[in-house]
């Protein structure tokens, strides 16, 4: 799942400064789950922005709020026609995808990001999120015992561990597990240690042209709504 973090209010304050009526737009999927842009955060940000406005003494902004089920699917954006009808800008608390999807839908309106989209990850416990996937498009998890060295190793090396590992921790931080030690231990548990002996050639980044697209259909007549 996509994990995002709230942007600093000062930064948001600067980006919204030129506009009067602003729609704070939440997203009910990933950013709700990671507590960055769901309905609760929209309401809190709304209150915080109003307070900031009052503190600055100008009070020129008017904020509206709305939370969509998911910003990254065009069909869910239909309500924006009405919600964003009389606003000068949209402050989207969706991830980077959401911001772009909304911008695509509203060609004449500035759509500003309200969160920093951080990574693809999972919850460790309440309030703690860890990165797990780099969306590299070339998954090797079968060879690394289900542990991704690209995201979980600081260096992202494919043939680890490096010399910086100590007592199972990374030299970068004593709090951080060495991904390659984890991989080793898991392989040992599964009695597949011989996979460690293999050499993994460097990834070919050129093979992954951007922007990527996934096609799951063929071009044929009929189907869903056009």
């Amino acid at each position: 799942m996509i994990v995002a973090e709230a942007k600093n209010l000062t930064e948001i304050g600067k980006t919204i400064a030129p506009y009067g009526r602003i729609l704070v737009l939440g997203c009910g999927t990933c950013v709700t789950v990671c507590g960055a842009g769901g309905e609760r955060e929209v309401a809190l940000l709304h209150d915080a922005l109003r307070l900031m406005d009052m503190k600055a003494g100008n009070g020129k902004h008017v904020f509206l709020e709305c939370t969509l089920k998911r910003q990254c699917d065009p069909e869910f954006l239909d309500v924006l026609e009405e919600k964003a009808a009389n606003v000068d800008a949209v402050l989207s608390l969706g991830c980077g995808i959401g911001v772009q999807a909304v911008a695509e839908r509203l060609p004449d309106l500035p759509v500003l990001p309200g969160v920093n989209t951080s990574f693809l990850g999972m919850a460790k416990e309440w309030g703690v999120w860890d990165e797990r996937c780099a969306a590299c498009g070339d998954c090797r998890l079968d060879e690394t015992a289900g542990i991704c060295p690209i995201t979980r190793c600081t260096k992202g090396i494919l043939n680890g561990p490096c010399a910086g590992t100590k007592n199972g921790r990374c030299e970068v931080s004593k709090e951080m597990d060495c991904a390659w030690v984890l991989i080793y231990q898991r392989l040992e548990n599964m009695r597949q240690l011989e996979t460690m002996r293999r050499y993994y050639p460097p990834r070919n980044f050129r093979a992954i042209p951007r922007p990527k697209r996934v096609l799951s259909k063929i071009n044929a007549a009929g189907g869903g709504h056009e």
């Binding site: 209010l9 009910g28 809190l44 109003r50 900031m52 503190k55 309440w126």
Partner: protein, 707 residues
């Protein structure tokens, strides 16, 4: 807040109908109460020290709360789910607290006569009084006929004064008189025809069950043998029967215990109770048995008299020992005599208290059923005679005060239906009753708090006279006791399933591990396990979870709005707003002076647990020009787990926002109160006030420099 109780449409039993957004369950205590009283509500109000409001809730469901507060057999406490955790909430004692501290004696009752049809009530026991009360409320002229010189039926002649002081009954009777009920004491009704001839359009027969049952053994008519009801009646009417030195009471019900304890108070040195089964089967109230034993009553179990003889001035009672045999149809094990175990006791008086039956004058012409009780339709309480209704012990056989009150209320509404030619509307409620046991895991995670008991008169002082044995809760114990309520059926629910992002926050934050993920991956908050702490409501990022009662959903926001509006008019500076746990602290009153005596303008938003205060609640006062905000929880006294942790989490979050906005984060503080005296809180608050004052001054200076 409670005006809605009166204004909203009411169902046939006078209970308020709930709005359709209310998804709460009927708690087991309320379901078990014959009067269906809103126990959870008034216990919660008592926990906040709001005795007046608690009394208002009690009075809306009970015509004579002071009487119930003394003698109710509290079936609610048997149903209380707290029993599964430690022991049930002392609901009856809390009601007593609410009626005494809330001033039930002072409540004025008025009624206007709006209907022409006169109604006669035969018998002034709890059923008759309740029926009269509700008929007066419905606007009917009412006359109560009482055979004895004093009103109250069993309340007066059956229940000893050490359990129910006369003054309590007197107050209620006076209140009925002031409501315009006509009272005819010393008037034994012998014929119902006469009543109809006198112009009464309907009659309610509640003559009670005063006739002692016979034991059916030889020598029962000997002098020195009397029945329990007669003994209690004589003593209650001021007579002093001479019982000799040795009294033995036969029976195991409340009347037997009452008779034995009354005998003790008459100065009888040796009082025994003979009961044919064991203590486990004894139908008398457990606390009554305990108190009787404390006072020195000797209870002999598995013993029954078989023969009584008068010889040489003694009453020779031959008894036989019993053993318990097979259970009968009701599941009680039947006593079986042990052959050859006979023994003889020499006593002065034998009181037989093995049960009572109604004694109906022949002229009533009402059909009698099993055990000489009146046969009625259970829904309408109608008898075989047109216009004659019956209820109370006369119908059920000896039962409880609260059941009689419920019958009286039911009769009043049915008589109203009858006189207005309406079909009785069936009592229908779409509100489900909370059933189900607590899970073992929930039980383990709920904080154990032992039951608080009101003070009892020391044993040595009890038996001297008929002074009341139990005293009222003191303020602090009552509040602490009321907080033990688990608030069954008003917990959190995922109201907006479409909003739920399945983020699992509720699963992770619940201190009681109540929410779970079902096989389909849906998150479920089982209502019978939820402890209504509200933490998941405040932590749900999609705001999909709400409390089941609509009033609780907007409670803090509404209170905050109200307080800020009031505070804006005050001139005291700096202006501080505090979210204070309203349980305990407020309840025991120690915080009342906090903001009044403070130097600053301190305004309090009362909250029912600080873990319900959300981040935006803490932020909003700043927008309204408030200079400092604090949250004060009840700390160690909290009946829940982990509340302070969640306050800290939200404070941390809001402080970060404040810093980014350019407001000093120190203007938001959390305090934890110490045990009850509030001294530490006062000191911390003073320090906070000074801090905020200096921050205000600094920001003014900064502004001037900038200018």
């Amino acid at each position: 807040m409670y005006s809605s109780l009166n204004s909203k449409s009411q169902d046939v039993n006078g209970a308020a109908r709930r709005p359709h957004t209310d998804h709460s369950f009927i708690p087991p205590c309320q379901a078990k109460c014959p009067l269906q009283m809103d126990i959870r509500e008034y216990v919660d109000l008592a926990a906040q020290g709001k005795v007046m409001e608690a009394l208002q809730v009690i009075r809306s469901g009970n015509p004579f709360p002071s009487i119930c507060a003394h003698v109710c057999t509290h079936p609610c406490e048997e149903a209380c789910r707290r029993t599964q955790v430690d022991s049930p909430v002392s609901i009856r004692a809390l009601k007593r607290f609410a009626v005494e501290f809330g001033g039930d004696r002072m409540v004025l009752a008025e009624a206007e006569t709006t209907r022409p049809e006169k109604v006669a009530i035969v018998g002034s026991g709890p059923g008759g009084l309740a029926c009269a009360y509700y008929l007066r409320k419905l606007g009917y002229p009412v006359t109560i006929f009482e055979a004895h010189a004093e009103m109250g039926g069993m309340l007066r002649v059956g229940i000893p004064q050490y359990r129910l002081p006369r003054a309590v009954v007197d107050t209620e009777v006076q209140r009925l008189i002031s409501m315009g009920a006509e009272i005819r004491t010393n008037t034994r009704v012998m014929s119902l025809d006469l009543l109809f001839d006198m112009g009464y359009k309907a009659v309610f027969v509640t003559i009670g069950a005063h006739q002692g049952l016979r034991m059916g053994i030889e020598g029962e008519e000997s002098p020195g043998v009397l029945d329990g009801a007669t003994l209690l009646r004589e003593v209650n009417l001021g007579l002093k029967p001479s019982l000799g030195q040795r009294v033995v009471v036969v029976g195991g019900g409340n009347v037997a215990i009452d008779a034995a304890r009354t005998a003790l108070r008459l100065g009888i040195p040796s009082v025994d109770i003979l009961y044919r089964r064991s203590r486990k089967e004894m139908p008398a109230d457990e606390t009554e048995i305990k108190e009787a034993l404390e006072e020195g009553v000797n209870i002999q179990y598995l013993v029954a008299p078989v023969n009584i003889k008068r010889a040489n001035g003694d009453l020779c009672v031959t008894c036989v020992r019993m053993e318990l045999g097979e259970p009968d149809a009701r599941g009680r094990r039947q006593p079986v005599p042990i052959e050859g175990s006979e023994f003889t006791m020499k006593v002065d008086t034998l009181v037989s208290a093995i049960g009572q039956a109604p004694q109906m004058p022949g002229g009533f012409g009402i059909r009698i059923g099993r055990g000489s009780t009146i046969q009625v339709d259970p829904l309408t309480l109608t008898t075989n005679r047109l216009g004659v209704f019956a209820g109370g012990d006369a119908v059920t056989g000896p039962a409880t005060v609260v059941e009689a009150l419920a019958a009286g209320r039911q009769a009043a509404h049915r008589i109203d239906d009858y006189l207005q030619h309406k079909y009785p509307r069936p009592v229908s409620t779409n509100q489900p009753v909370m059933t189900g046991e607590l899970d073992q895991q929930t039980i383990e995670l709920v904080r154990k708090i032992g039951r608080f008991e009101p003070l009892y008169l020391p044993v040595e002082d009890r038996t001297r006279d008929f002074k009341p044995v139990e005293s009222v809760f003191d303020w602090e114990s009552a509040v602490n006791e009321a907080r033990r309520c688990l608030r069954c059926g008003v917990g959190a629910e995922i109201l907006f399933q479409d909003k739920c992002a399945s983020c699992l926050n509720c699963v992770r934050v619940c201190p009681y591990h109540v929410p779970y993920i079902d096989m389909a991956g849906t998150i479920i908050i089982p209502p019978d396990q939820c402890q209504a702490c509200g933490i998941c409501v405040a932590e749900c990022p999609a705001r999909a979870i709400v409390m089941r009662k609509p009033r609780e959903r907007r409670h803090i926001a509404d209170e905050l709005d109200h307080i800020v509006k009031t505070a804006a008019q005050s001139k005291a500076r700096p202006l501080l707003i505090g979210f204070l746990c309203q349980y305990g602290l407020f309840g025991t009153g120690t915080l009342a002076g906090l903001w009044r005596s403070g130097k600053a303008g301190i305004w309090i938003v009362p909250v029912l647990c600080t873990s319900k205060v959300e981040a935006h609640h803490m932020l909003r006062p700043f927008e309204m020009g408030v200079e400092g905000v604090f949250v004060a929880g009840c700390g160690e006294q909290c009946s829940r787990e982990n509340t302070d942790h969640w306050v800290q989490q939200r404070i941390h979050k809001v402080r970060k926002l404040l810093a980014q906005i350019g407001i000093e984060p120190e203007r938001l503080q959390a305090f934890v109160s110490d045990k009850n005296d509030g001294r530490r809180l006062r000191e911390e608050l003073e320090r906070f006030t000074e801090q905020v004052s200096s921050l205000c001054l600094a920001s003014i200076l900064k502004q001037e420099v900038r200018n």
